[in-house]
Each structure stands twice: as C-alpha cells, then as structure tokens.
C-alpha cells in the first residue's frame, strides 16, 4: 500500500469515527444519569435529519437555520419522549424501562414510515459542505473535515458543563444516587429533562451531519448507526463522555482499516463491529474508560 493511499484510509477512518463519536456521546450521557440505554436514540437521530430536510426543502430555510430549528425541535421532542415513555417507569425494574425504550424506538420508526413515507429521499447538500478538498492525492469533502471539529468542540462544552457548572454537579449527583440527590434538594426531574434535551440535541446534530455526508434519508436510517454507536459507547465505557468519543473513533478506524488491509472480507464489516463488542464485554466489561460498577442492565 502506498503512503498516499494509507493517508486516504486514515482520513476516511477519522471522518467516519468522529461521526460515530458524536452520536455515541448522546447514548452515554443518558446512560450516565439514568442507567438507561435509550434504544430510541437512533430514531431521534433519524427525526433530526428529517426535520432539517423538510426545513430546507419545504420551508426553504438556509441549511444552518434548518439545522438550528431541527436541533431545538428534537431536543424538546427528546424531553417529551422521556416524560411520556420513561418517567412513569422510573421506579420500576430496570428491564421495564428498557423495554419501553425498545417500544419507543419501534413506534418512531413506524411513524416515520407513515409520515415521511418508506421511499428514500435525497438530501440537498449545501455546496459549501459538499466541496471536495484536495491535500496532495488525499481528498475529502468539507463536511468530513468539519465533523471532527464539531465533535471535539461539543466534547469540550459537555465536559465543561458536567464538571464545572452547578447543573453539571447536580447531574453527577443524580448519576451517583438518585434518591440521595433528591434529599439534597436537587430537582431530579429538571436534571433528567436537561440530560434528555442534550442527548437528543446531539442525536439531531449527528443525524443532520450524517445526512450531509451520506445524503439519503429513510425512516430506518437510524437503526444501524444507533447500534454502531451503542457499541462505540460500550467499548469506550458507557457512562463516560470521553470514553464514547474514544470508542467512536476506535470503531471507525477498525472498520475502515479492516477493509483496507483485508479487502476480501469487506462484506463482514458489520460483523467485525459486533465481534469487537463481544470481545470488549468479555475482556473488560466496563469498557476502556468506564468505572467499575456492580449494576447490570
């Protein structure tokens, strides 16, 4: 393999990995606070992409305005989803709330088919984001360059919120012990809503970036990225924000490099992601950056 091809593979891997990382953060945030794997995360991701799509095509908003509208809408949608599907079950066994999450996921997918239609839609990608950049023999589109930047910026902001602000302190308190936090006058409902808002906002942002990079929408588009990013979050240590980013990049790099070095096995790419999940769960169940916990989901 020549050096320029290797560089191209690395660029591909980083751009895919950063997208995984972006979505994995949302999974890990919700899990960190509620110990809930939000299986509907991938479908919130889909919703975000569709709202932005209709913002651009139906209302002819400029792409950045559509992005903002979609993010705000999806954040409130996530808060609403939590109120309807998860809050009534907060004191039930963990398994009930998880099943409710699976139900929410199927509901959103079916509503997507009903409302948006089952046929795939092409996304009008703004020229400024789809411009091809050449660095020597290595090429990429602008949005692939922007996604890692956004991912790291969001990582910084989130770490700051969680570690430096009062809300963040309350989040950490809820995460450690929800009852004790309530006794310490932490408004648990507000913190949970806030977490879901942030998680859904990240999902929407990820969905829109995804649809600019792979300009095609369908109501089931969130299923595979949802699973992959769940794997990324688990690899990195679910509950850890830095771990989710690490896991996302790792998954992207492994997927691309597998095809690069073993092209004949390229059809088994998804299988490798799942094998990786099994290996991590066997060797280091808490993930790379996760803390040891006695709880099980």
């Amino acid at each position: 393999m020549t050096l320029s091809l290797l560089f191209q593979h690395i660029v591909n891997a980083l751009s895919l990995g950063s997208l995984y990382a972006l979505i994995a953060i949302g999974y890990t945030m919700v899990y960190g606070i509620l110990r809930l794997i939000n299986f509907a995360h991938g479908d919130v991701f889909m919703l975000g992409a569709y709202v932005a799509f209709y913002g651009i095509t139906l209302v002819s908003l400029p792409w950045w305005a559509a992005l903002l509208v979609s993010i705000v809408f999806t954040a409130f949608f996530g808060i609403g989803l939590e109120k309807v599907a998860y809050k009534p079950l907060r004191d039930s066994p963990r398994i009930s709330i998880m099943i409710s999450a699976i139900g929410a996921s199927f509901l959103l997918e079916s509503l997507g088919v009903l409302i948006f239609g089952g046929r795939p839609k092409g996304v009008p990608v703004p020229d400024v984001l789809s411009k091809v950049l050449h660095f020597g023999s290595v090429s990429m589109i602008t949005v692939s360059l922007l996604i890692p930047l956004f991912t790291f910026a969001l990582l910084g902001v989130l770490l700051w919120i969680v570690n430096k602000t009062k809300t963040g302190m309350a989040m950490r308190a809820v995460s450690t012990d929800i009852e004790a936090a309530r006794l310490m006058a932490v408004d648990v409902n507000r913190i949970v809503s806030f977490t879901f808002g942030i998680g859904s906002l990240l999902a929407a942002f990820g969905g829109i970036m995804w649809s600019f990079k792979y300009p095609q929408l369908n109501p089931l588009m969130g299923v595979m990225p949802g699973l992959k990013c769940f794997i990324a979050a688990v690899i990195g240590g679910i509950g850890s924000i830095g771990g989710a980013v690490l896991g996302g990049f790792l998954l992207g790099i492994i997927e691309i490099m597998m095809v690069a070095f073993l092209p004949t096995l390229s059809g088994y790419r998804d299988a490798f992601a799942f094998i990786l999940l099994i290996v991590v769960l066997l060797v280091k169940p808490t993930g790379l950056l996760g803390k040891r916990q006695a709880e099980k989901v």
Binding site: T2, P120, G122, M140, Y214, E255, P263
Partner: protein
C-alpha cells in the same frame, strides 16, 4: 348443554350465511401484488405497482370461460426484507387466497417467496427480478423480463467494445443475490471477451444498508481499472458513485436495471451523470401496439415518462390476465399451464415468449444519465 346448542346454532347460522352470500357475491379474481413498499427497495416496488395499477384501470375484468370476473388487486408489502417477504407471500396464498402473484422487485425477495408459491401451487410472475435462480427448479415461478446471464453479457460487451476497457473492478452487494449473480455473469463474459483470466482486478463487497464506502473505493483507486461494474440496489449505488467522485475516481461506472429509479438521481445528483446501465425498455423506442397504449395512458395519468419496471408491471398483469382467459378456468394447474404456454404475447416491453424455464427472452436496452434524466443509448438483441 346450553353451550353446545349455542355452538351448533352458531355453526348452522354461519353456514347459512356463507351459502346465502355465495352466489350473491361479485365474482372476483385476485391478483396478489407482492412488492417492497417500505425499506431500501421501496422506490423500485412503487414503480412496479404503478404499472400494475394502470393495467388494472385499463383492463379491470377477465373472461373465465363465458363469465366475466372483476380483477381485484391485493397489495402486500414485503418490506425489502427476506423474512418479511416470506411472511407476506404466505399471507397472500393462505389468507387472501390469491389466484396469481405478481412481483417482486428484487430477486432475493422473489426467491424468498419461491418455495411458498410452489407449495401452494399458486403461479407467480416476476416482473423485473433477473437472477436465474428465481425460476430455476420452480415450475410455478415465471417472469416477463430477461435474466442476468444475458444482462451481464450486454454490459461486458459494452465495456469491451464501446469503452475499450481491458481491466475492470467489481463492487457488489454481497447480501443481494441479484448483485452477486450479475457480477459473476459480467465477470465471466468480460474475461472471455478480453481473453484475459485476470481481467477482473478485484471484487469488493459491501452489505445492504451500508452508507460508507470510502474504504472500498480507496482500494479501487489502487487498482486503476478502466471501468467499474457495480450492480446493486439504487440507494447504495448512488452513494457509492457519489463517494467515488469525492475521492477523485473518474473511471466510468456501469450497473444494471435496478438503477433506473428516480431516487438514484435524487440521491446521486451531479455524481451519477454519465453512468451507463442496462435495462428492459425505453420509451424512445415503443415496440408493440401495447407499448403505445401503455405510454399514452401512463403519460396522461402521471404526466411523466415511465420507468422500465413500470412497463414490466403492466406486462406482468396482462400476461396473467391473458393466461387465465386462455385457461378458461381458475384451476391452479390450468392457470399455471396457460402461463407456461405464453407465446408472442404483445406486451408493452416487447413480444413475450416464455421459455422452458419460465423466463422471457427479450432484448435489452442501454441507458445513461444525462442532465438529471435517464436517456436511451442502444438496444441489444438476445442471440
């Protein structure tokens, strides 16, 4: 005791109701429409359903013996999924008790229904599923389109003669029988034409539903082929071609009939300009009187040009209707025999004659994408 009497009365009541309804009910023949209406193949399925519905509007009845029956379409969504396809086919033959099945877009989906229609002895007519295995060893599955050994040869010939290509790379959808089969037939024909055992530099795989192909395409760059053959579903194919352009790959892309859907251009936009693929029918060269009837009706109703698979949907319906008329009966075996005997039936896509395998022997059409539209290039006769 009281309960038992109740059940007896109820049974008698229902029986009486059935007898009473029997003669009064309108006589209908049911055509099961077995197509993907959601999921990755929904665009293709919808196009075929358009053709079937149009045929149903123009020819809503069928003569069985000397009685006129109304044709009712029972539409079942197979959700672009092999497991769901088997369920949908089972439902059509068991619950809806259809007389004939039409479809499905996608050879894998049709193959999932194969054993089911065979066991139920209900004849099925594939519209655009081109993998040879759909009709092989299944005397109840027919189709109104050509098959992939021919289609693969057409594209190999085009690469060798028109593009002067000596080396090719294949990118195939490894979980899709259509894609794998067509890739193989192309490879065989291309090797034979070039006389070079190593004319296929590489065969790269991806899975249905993948969105990122950058790793495979970076590999393609390494091989420097003259042409890339990438048969597969239109959704993934459009993304592959788009990402190839982004990586600076300028080699011509060739594909198969599945590309001819509006979504292919909608997703691929500028990137798919100039790609070349084989398909069944071009509106620029109407072949039979039925072609004109179909084109006029379609243009009037939808105010656009029909896709080839829409014309095949129209033809599948007409072939089934014609066979029932010739059989003069709704007996499953008589209908099957009548479909098998279809000879020189003037369909919208040409004269339809089914061979011993139940496949139509027809010419292929080569099309390209120009200014965001599918444009006719040439017609290739079967040999």
């Amino acid at each position: 005791m009281k309960k038992a009497v109740g059940i007896v009365l109820l049974t008698v009541g229902i029986a009486a109701l059935i007898v009473a309804c029997g003669p009064a009910a309108p006589k209908t023949v049911k055509f099961g429409v077995f197509e993907p209406l959601t999921g990755a193949n929904a665009g293709g399925g919808a196009l075929e359903v358009e053709g079937i519905k149009l045929a149903n509007e123009l020819y809503p009845t069928v003569m069985v013996g000397d009685k006129e029956y109304k044709i009712e379409l029972v539409i079942a969504d197979n959700k672009s999924d092999k497991v769901e396809a088997a369920n949908a086919a089972q439902r059509l033959v068991d619950k809806d008790k259809v007389n004939v099945v039409l479809g499905s877009w996608g050879s894998s989906l049709s193959m999932a229904a194969g054993p089911i229609v065979k066991n139920a002895k209900v004849s099925a007519i594939g519209l655009s599923c081109t993998n040879p295995l759909v009709t092989k060893d299944n005397e109840y599955y027919f189709r109104v389109c050509f098959i992939d050994p021919f289609q693969g040869t057409v594209m190999a010939n085009y690469s060798f003669k028109n593009l002067n290509a000596k080396k090719a790379v294949i990118i195939r959808e490894v979980s899709n029988d259509y894609s794998v089969g067509l890739a193989k037939f192309f490879a065989d024909a291309f090797k034979q034409l070039t006389g070079d055992e190593n004319a296929i530099l590489a065969e790269l795989n991806y899975n249905t539903g993948d969105t990122d192909f950058s790793a495979q395409l970076t590999e393609v760059k390494k091989f420097k082929p003259d042409v890339i053959f990438a048969p597969g579903n239109y959704t993934e194919s459009a993304l592959i071609i788009k990402q190839a352009k982004e990586l600076g790959i300028t080699v011509p892309f060739l594909g198969g009939d599945t590309w001819e859907t509006p979504e292919f251009i909608d997703v691929g936009k500028q990137a798919v300009e100039g790609v070349v693929f084989s398909t069944f029918f071009a509106t620029e060269t109407p072949i039979t009187d039925t072609s004109k009837v179909f084109l006029d009706a379609y243009r009037q109703k939808y105010n656009k040009e029909p896709a080839a698979v829409t014309a095949l949907g129209f033809d599948g319906y007409l072939v089934a209707r014609d066979a029932i008329q010739r059989a003069g009966s709704l007996d499953k075996d008589k209908v099957r025999a009548a479909i098998a005997e279809t000879k020189d039936y003037p369909g919208a896509t040409g004269m339809i004659t089914l061979n011993a395998d139940g496949d139509a022997v027809k010419s292929a059409v080569i099309k390209t994408v120009k200014d965001g539209k599918f444009v006719y290039m040439a017609t290739v006769q079967p040999y």
